[in-house]
Amino acid sequence: MATTDIHIHQDVHHHGDGHDHDHDHEHHGGNFWTTYIFSEDHKIIGKQFLITGIFWALLGGSLSVIFRLQLGFPDMNLEWLKPILGGWITPEGKLDPEFYLALVTMHGTIMVFFVLTAGLSGTFSNFLIPLQIGARDMASGFMNMLSYWFFFASSVLMFISLFLETGPAAGGWTVYPPLSALPQAIKGSGLGMTLWLVAMALFIVSSLLGSINYISTVINMRTRGMSFTRLPLTIWAFFFTAIIGILSFPVLFAAALLLIFDRSFGTSFYLSDIYIGGEALAHDGGSPVLFQHLFWFLGHPEVYIVLLPALGISSEIIATNSRKPIFGYKAMIGSMLFIAILSFIVWAHHMFVTGMNPFLGSIFMLLTLIIAVPSAVKIFNYVTTLWKGNIVFTPGMLFSIGLVSFFLTGGITGIFLGNSAIDIQLHDTYFVVAHFHLVMGSASFFGMLAGIYHWFPKMFGRMMNERLGQIHFWITFIGVYMVFFPMHYIGIAGFPRRYYSWTNFETFSGFADLNMLVSLAAILTLAAQFIFLFNFFYSIWRGRLAPANPWNANTLEWTTPRNPGHGNWPGEIPAVYRWPYDYSKPGAKDDFIPQTIPFSETPESNLPHETELIKLESTSGDDIIIQGGKLEGNH
């Protein structure tokens, strides 16, 4: 097996080198456009996704603060927002109710797709896959570049839609027709919705181009010795994420396409029996519930597209900073695989009360609650990894701990919502808002921040300020809990989500105090992100120079130079001899042994079966590569 691997590998590299020579010359020539803009280098593309994601995160966060002002301070005069929002502030100084819905919709769309899918997966899959598996670049640098620029085009369209006179899409991020199909029903379903659909179509193209690349890179381009069982959990997570994306995003594309047909070409896929604006529409025979099935067939896996990379990142960071192997490496992979499979057969738990056949509801309830088992295994494994560790609270570690805490708090409420009988009351209340913001929104967001703090030294060759990072963590951690924990109470009390105000209902007349607290906490949390922004941009240029391996980590990316150039390693790609979690191995000199160090060099710490592997090390390849490995080891 090993020999064939090497042959394929070398072939690929000859090709790669041949192609890359031209580019290399261009790069060294200092062409700004090919180096930083239309780059085919996975590291630059990763940073492009990151910067765009940060832009979107700020925008999405700001939108939420605007609507939280409305909910927390319903009597506040918002006149002062007029310079930004113009006509969307009514003459009485109130937020326009329709624009409120647009804000909610765009906040959801932006956060789920543009920040936590593109910004998280796009950044870290691109940046880390080649570096951690030992590859010069992605399988196709060109496709990778296209992936970013499709995302960029999609971003531009979505951004433009915010400035339309009729406003952006306003039917909720799930864009259920008929509301999203009929401009008569809501203004946002006019041009705003058209742009939303086109932007999402481009986004899906971008996501598919990226995912195909991630999968082929992980399968084909691992360095010598990097078997699947030696992959860091980050790579496993990105790999599963990409597979989920490839299987589910096309379904959203189909859903969007049919919606475009219904909107523009008079078909009736989703529309039937509608009387609106004083006339009965000709649409007949369609089913709005069909859209919901198609949407959630992506929509639910999307939750895991968002969450799995964050879980992978936190697994890696928690192991490194606990100075311990991740507990249950194979169980972690197994539970991610199980989650990935189950994610495709639970979608209809979003639809228990849509009028879907109740028998379907029973099946989906059963499958949904099963997904709690692998999730629980993951939490227990994280906790066991911390047990008897030697925990270093780097900002990355703090955010990873925060992620586990959110994953626990938010995950547990999923057991209520997955139970169809309990969901009758809780569906579309603030309980749901609390649940998914903690388990998917905040947990994934913390995974993204953890990843940025942890791999910043590799991205920019400098360190972020640790103290500022820790302050950022504590404000954000407490802020997020203050925003989302009170929402459980509001939800149990039955408050429906997407309400502009609750004053019309006696039943929902309470909790002005909690709502105010939530809004204040949201403002505080958003403000804390500026500490991060300052730290991030300041450190890119003025941060302390990063050491080669600032966290004493085992994975391959830390064997590259401080600022890895095109091709990542100046010489031979290092070979890999062990799994990435040999932390605090009994007998070893240091509390970490990088993957590039062969077992033959660590007789003092080898386990019995590893001593056996030494023989394979000397017979499985030519001497040069072994020497390369040894050289790396001595570094």
Binding site: L179, S272, G278, A280, P288, M365, T384, I401, F511, D591
Partner: protein, 356 residues
Amino acid sequence: MMSLIIVLGVVLVLGILFLIFRISTLVGIARGKKEEYVSPSNGVHAVLFIVFLVLSLALFFWYSFTRFDLYTLPIASEHGKKTDGLFWITMAITVIAFVIISIIMFVFIYQYRYNPARRAKFFPDNHYLELTWTIIPAIVLALLIFTGLRTWNEITAPASKDAEVIELIAQQFAWTARYPGVKDQSLGKVNYKLIDAVNEFGLDLSDKNSFDDFKSLELHLPVGQEILLKIRAKDVIHSVFLPHFRVKMDAVPGMPTQFKFVATKTTEQMRDELGNPNFNYELACTEICGRGHFSMKMSVVVEEQEDYERWKASQEAWLKQNPDYLNKVPAELKEAAMIKAGMQADPGAGVAVVKE
């Protein structure tokens, strides 16, 4: 002017913060402070996590117990007792798990904070542990699944034949109820193509069951009797939410839906129980439906069965309120329509009752 001062103030504060940051960095460099692998303040975070754990759990339990009545709605339906029972069983199980796991996790984080003199334990695997925490959650979840399934199947089982049928029609941004008239006790056919400004139900007046149907802007429900809500929407998706009755079901254009339940407390009883003479049941929309989503309310009145029957008998048929629509009634049914709608005394009232 005021805003200029605010902007200047903000700039000044930010400038000062930046200077503090810069000076502390420079002082660190001047002192020759070599950034260590683990900063000396590492233990502070371990302590902060414990403080966070204690304070947040205390706050959680204090608020949950002292404000219990604020965030729980009284139950006014039979199945609501069951779903709420399930809710609180799930709550007990999950809160126990949540508290135990949280305490263990944050205590580990504190106890195993970095100590240069110690080395972490190399503990990569343990199949027994993995099996334990796969099987235990699986068993607990299986119990929840089975109790949940049984309740769900009961709630969604077909309604009995003598259930009181009421139709709810959703449109932007109002609810309307249609009751079968007291004479035939069945709802007439509807067709969305017949909807116009007056005929908002799209009543098909060629169906004789439609003659005595009547409209109500308030939802009247009898207590202690099975009610079958037939739900439909005219324009976009809405959702019927009766919070006190634990009822929720979407209203979907083109796909009629339904929900059956039994109300257990009249409005009066609930007023006495809560000591709030102004209490009213309400129906809210819980599916985003446009600009007025948040104001889509219907008042709900639950009354004793005799009162309910009396109220029903006192309502005028839709056709009586809109006599112009008599010309939509086929000629041969016109007289029957007028009798049924109460627009004309029934010459053979006694006979008609016997026939029915």
